[in-house]
């Protein structure tokens, strides 16, 4: 019973922290660019405001448009429940492994793209088309990074990978792990719509990918989608943090261990978020047709990770 509660609790922590993570990156970016910036907790106010507003829905849209925000938020929450955020050893109650997480996220993206097409707006179609392109091209890298991790740990289960890295700290600094981390980090940028693939703060329609796709959303629907997007970012960063650097994660359900687990994951997320903020300040957005080159770089990194894992054995 406690395990269920801890699992539910860790998922809720992830859901609750997600807007703060997005806000923190935005705030830090503003500071780095010499602006004052909104405080890191601003997204909470935004979400609250949006929940209180009415939603404007196009005449053209069907039920798909209205169902999608719930599905997108729902799939992201389910994925968050699979990921070891604070505790690693809850495996009997986790309903899927890494591949299942990838496909669940794909389910959300699938419906988001359909919703983009649903209103008949050219921006929606443009965003949907580009988003599906980017997502399809990231899939092989994600899969190969999973293979590189799974070859070391002998399984694609989250808790098994974490446990293995903890018992063999030398493997965590091996070339296989580092290359896979680099590959997964590039994919994270692409999947969560960050620079240099997509610009989360652009409002020029022709350059948008994710934002163009959700352009028609407003009110509570938009709140769910934005929250879901923030949660997706948190999930990817948690994966990068806890699968590759699991130190500090709680291995038992003792309150102290859980506190350390929570503290360490917040610290790790802070570091990765800072890295993204610095990166976004430093690089410019790539042209859409240069994105495949970046993604093929990440694919090669992941392939090298697999090969070095094989050679290291």
């Amino acid at each position: 019973m406690t395990r269920y509660l801890v699992l539910a609790g860790q998922t809720l922590v992830a859901v609750a922290l997600a807007p703060a993570l997005a806000g923190f990156i935005r705030w830090l970016k503003a500071r780095l660019q010499g602006r004052r910036g909104a405080p890191p907790w601003q997204p909470y106010f935004d979400v609250r405001k949006l929940f209180g507003k009415e939603a404007v829905v196009s005449h053209t849209a069907s039920w798909i448009f209205k169902a999608t925000p719930f599905l997108v938020f729902g799939t992201t929450v389910v994925v968050a429940s699979l990921v070891p955020v604070v505790v690693a050893q809850v495996s009997p109650f986790v309903v899927g492994d890494l591949f299942a997480a990838v496909y669940l996220l794909l389910l959300g993206t699938f419906f988001l793209a359909l919703a983009g097409l649903d209103t008949g707006s050219p921006f929606g179609g443009m965003g949907a088309s580009r988003e599906m392109t980017v997502v399809a091209l990231t899939e092989p890298t994600v899969a190969l990074s999973i293979v590189a991790l799974a070859l070391n740990a002998g399984s694609t289960s989250f808790s098994q990978i974490v446990a293995h890295t903890l018992t063999q700290p030398s493997a965590a600094l091996g070339p296989g792990h580092l290359l896979a981390f680099a590959a997964l980090f590039i994919v994270t940028l692409a999947e969560t719509g960050r620079l240099p693939v997509d610009n989360p703060s652009t409002h020029l329609e022709l350059t948008m990918i994710h934002e163009a796709m959700v352009l028609e959303y407003s009110g509570p629907y938009l709140a769910l989608i934005e929250w879901g997007a923030a949660l997706k970012l948190l999930v990817f960063l948690t994966l990068a943090a806890n699968l590759f650097m699991p130190w500090g994660i709680a291995l038992s359900l003792a309150p102290m261990a859980l506190l350390i687990g929570l503290g360490s994951v917040i610290a790790k997320l802070g570091v990765l978020a800072a890295a993204i903020a610095v990166l976004e300040t430093r690089v410019a957005k790539l042209r859409l047709f240069r994105v495949p080159e970046l993604l093929s770089v990440s694919f090669v990194l992941a392939l090298l990770a697999v090969m070095s894992t094989f050679l290291a054995r």
């Binding site: 939603a55 798909i64 729902g74 929450v77 899927g96 699938f110 359909l114 070859l151 392939l303 094989f310």
Partner: protein, 681 residues
């Protein structure tokens, strides 16, 4: 004679009755109903027979030695593997037959429905007999019956030149396969009077390695041409769109799976374990098939061609499972190999279900929109809400999204390939992860492809008057789609149990008896899909429950706060009225990927701008045409076609038209016959 025998006789009688009576029925309506009833009786009985065999685990055997005695007689042997594929065929033909009764009403008075009824039932009979065959003669007879009748079904709308061309391609490819099947069986048969599969199995053990390799390669090419392995897939995107939609559903859902059946029967069952390069060949073919299939599907604007290419892709996924299994088997890792083969079988069943559904739904769409071109559809979800919902379920399953059925089998293929990566040989340890990458890319592209298929056809504003006026078709067609959609959901949620059945079927085959592995992977009980070592697991059922729970909680919470919705126009930068011309089109949706993979597509583009004579800045009209020409096909097939033509002109000299020359031929043939008879003495 037990229950299974009776059911099989009823099956044959049903199909034959449907075929025969359809020829004699008085009115077009009666022809349609009789065709349907015969097919329904036949497939229901076939399903009953197959399910009984699967439930009792007892193979059924009957030999009719007096029927065509010189060839060894007709032998029926329904073992578990055969029963699975018979069940698959029957489970797709049952809804397709009922769907066809209303669907073929469009042909009333236009075309001979009698001949259609004959061919339709003959086709179903052939497909049902292929997995039931117990000896070479019966197998080849059923195979040929299936090929010939389906050829005529493809030619149903033979007034279009496209259809006739499709028929020619189909006939050529299917007979190419048949021509290779005969030497394959000849190489295996130990003697002229021993042609049952049991004899072949016994004889295969004594073959030389070279002969075994030859049989294997012939099997891959011959059955690959039926299944649609690249580059032998060329007939699929031609024949599937040409045939009536319920026939496409049968060809895509059931018939190409019989190619998979043949491949598994010959390689796994009859030949047994081979060298590891067998698996390598199938893995490479599978990767190529999956990738090429999905990439062409993505570029396609014709909805039925898109689905046909998507079938090619799924055959590739199935081949990846088989290839992983063959590699693992060659290293003696039988319990891991079981996972690969099991995943392949499960994906065969799953693909039959969702592709059958998608083709039936497309049939209704084409019926109402009067076109297969997605650029003229759109907004169909308003007029055809149920068809749209069914098509969406099929699309999500085809994109392997959890918790529907495509997800479970692809997850298992991933796990099987991952097991292959553990083998300490460089080419395998690098090759299988690459196959994982290909499979992941394929599923990502498949998701993009089905977003396009559903989104462009069913959502937004209608792009033509026919699409705007579209209404639901007869209730019986929708009921049949509902059955298949339910199948997609149930097979997805109950995938672990289905997979357990697949493992048991494989366990009963000769290379595996007693190889029942200790791992929980074979138990297949409970709600968990398990990796071979039992550590990684996923549960479609629990994922579905959890997802439903979260969505419900969020929906209730938002409803409780009160959700005010104001309808308005789509935002369009201040323009007044929204028209369908502003929507993203099918070509536009695929454009980024078409550019990225332009090497494969090599599209021909033609842009002509007519400007105002006074100033080039005032444009009067822009015409843009772009076409994707499958260059791979051209490069491979054009030389072959040219060669055959040249050969044909030479051969034509034999047909001189002179009676004297023909008499000479007869005399010569007689002389050869005498000499060979004398030689044999």
């Amino acid at each position: 004679m037990d229950v299974i025998g009776v059911a099989l006789w009823v099956m044959v009688a049903g199909y034959m009755g449907g075929a025969g009576l359809a020829l004699m029925a008085p009115s077009p309506r009666a022809v349609r109903v009789i065709t349907g009833i015969g097919a329904v009786v036949g497939s229901a009985a076939g399903l009953a027979a197959a399910l009984t065999v699967l439930a009792t685990h007892r193979p059924f055997e009957v030999v009719l030695p007096n029927l065509a005695a010189t060839t060894g007689g007709v032998a029926i042997r329904l073992d578990l593997l055969g029963a699975l594929f018979l069940a698959l065929v029957a489970a797709v033909s049952l809804p397709a037959a009922i769907y066809g009764i209303a669907y073929t009403a469009a042909y009333d008075g236009r075309r001979s429905l009698r001949a259609f009824g004959l061919m339709f039932n003959g086709f179903l009979l052939g497909m049902s007999l292929v997995p039931s065959a117990g000896n070479v003669f019966t197998f080849l007879l059923a195979w040929e019956l299936m090929a010939v009748t389906s050829y005529f079904l493809v030619l149903t709308e033979s007034e279009h030149s496209d259809t006739r061309e499709a028929g020619l391609w189909y006939a050529a490819m299917t007979h190419f396969g048949f021509v290779l099947l005969v030497p394959m069986f000849l190489m295996m048969a130990p003697g002229a009077d021993a042609t049952t599969f049991a004899d072949l199995r016994a004889g295969a053990a004594g073959l030389s390695p070279a002969a075994r390799n030859g049989v294997f390669l012939l099997a891959v090419v011959a059955f690959g041409s039926k299944a649609g392995l690249v580059p032998l897939h060329v007939w699929l995107p031609r024949a599937h769109p040409a045939a009536p939609s319920h026939v496409s559903a049968l060809m895509s859902g059931a018939m190409i799976k019989l190619g998979i059946y043949g491949l598994m029967r010959v390689t796994i069952d009859l030949l047994g374990t081979g060298p590891e390069w067998w698996g390598g060949v199938v893995l490479v073919a599978g990767s190529l098939t999956a990738l090429v299939g999905v990439l062409y599907a993505l570029a396609e604007n014709d909805l039925k061609r898109l689905l046909a290419y998507s079938s090619v892709e799924n055959i590739g996924v199935i081949a990846l499972g088989i290839g992983a299994g063959l590699v693992l088997q060659s290293y003696g890792l039988h319990s891991l190999a079981l996972v690969g083969f099991g995943a392949a079988l499960l994906h065969s069943v799953n693909h039959a279900c969702f592709k059958g559904l998608l083709f039936l739904a497309t049939g209704n769409v084409v019926h109402r929109a009067h076109t297969r071109n997605m650029e003229h559809m759109g907004g169909l979800i308003k007029g055809m809400p149920q068809t749209a919902a069914f098509f969406l379920i099929g699309s999500a399953a085809a994109a392997a999204l959890p918790p529907l059925n495509g997800f479970a089998s692809e997850w298992m293929v991933f796990q099987a390939l991952l097991s292959g990566a553990q083998i300490p040989r460089p080419e395998i340890a690098i090759g299988t992860p690459l196959a994982v990458g290909v499979l992941a890319l394929t599923s990502g592209l498949a998701a993009a492809c089905f977003v396009k298929a559903f989104g462009i056809s069913f959502l937004a504003l209608p792009r033509s008057d026919a699409a705007a006026r579209a209404r639901e078709v007869h209730w019986s067609t929708r009921a049949m789609m509902a059955v298949l959609a339910l199948g997609c959901v149930v097979l997805g949620l109950e995938a672990p149990r289905a997979l357990g059945h697949m493992y048991r079927i494989l366990d009963s085959l000769s290379p595996f008896p007693g190889a029942a592995p200790p791992s929980p992977a074979t138990s297949g009980t409970g709600v968990w899909l398990l990796s071979p070592n039992g550590i990684a697991r996923a549960s479609p059922l629990l994922i579905a429950c959890l997802l439903t729970l979260v969505v419900m909680v969020v929906a209730i919470a938002i409803r409780a706060r009160g959700l005010a919705v104001r309808p308005a126009d789509t935002w369009g930068c201040g323009r007044i009225r929204q028209t369908p011309r502003m929507e993203y089109t099918s070509s536009a949706f695929a454009e980024p990927l078409r550019r990225i993979f332009s090497e494969l597509y090599r599209p021909t583009e033609d842009l002509s701008v007519i400007v105002h004579p006074e100033s080039p800045y005032f444009v009067r009209s822009i015409t843009y045409t772009s076409q994707v020409v499958p260059w791979l096909e051209r490069a491979l097939y054009d030389p072959v076609i040219r060669g055959v033509r040249t050969l044909a002109t030479y051969v034509r000299r034999l047909q001189a038209g002179s009676v004297h020359v023909y008499l000479l031929y007869i005399a010569g043939a007689l002389a050869v016959a005498f000499v060979s008879a004398w030689w044999a003495e």
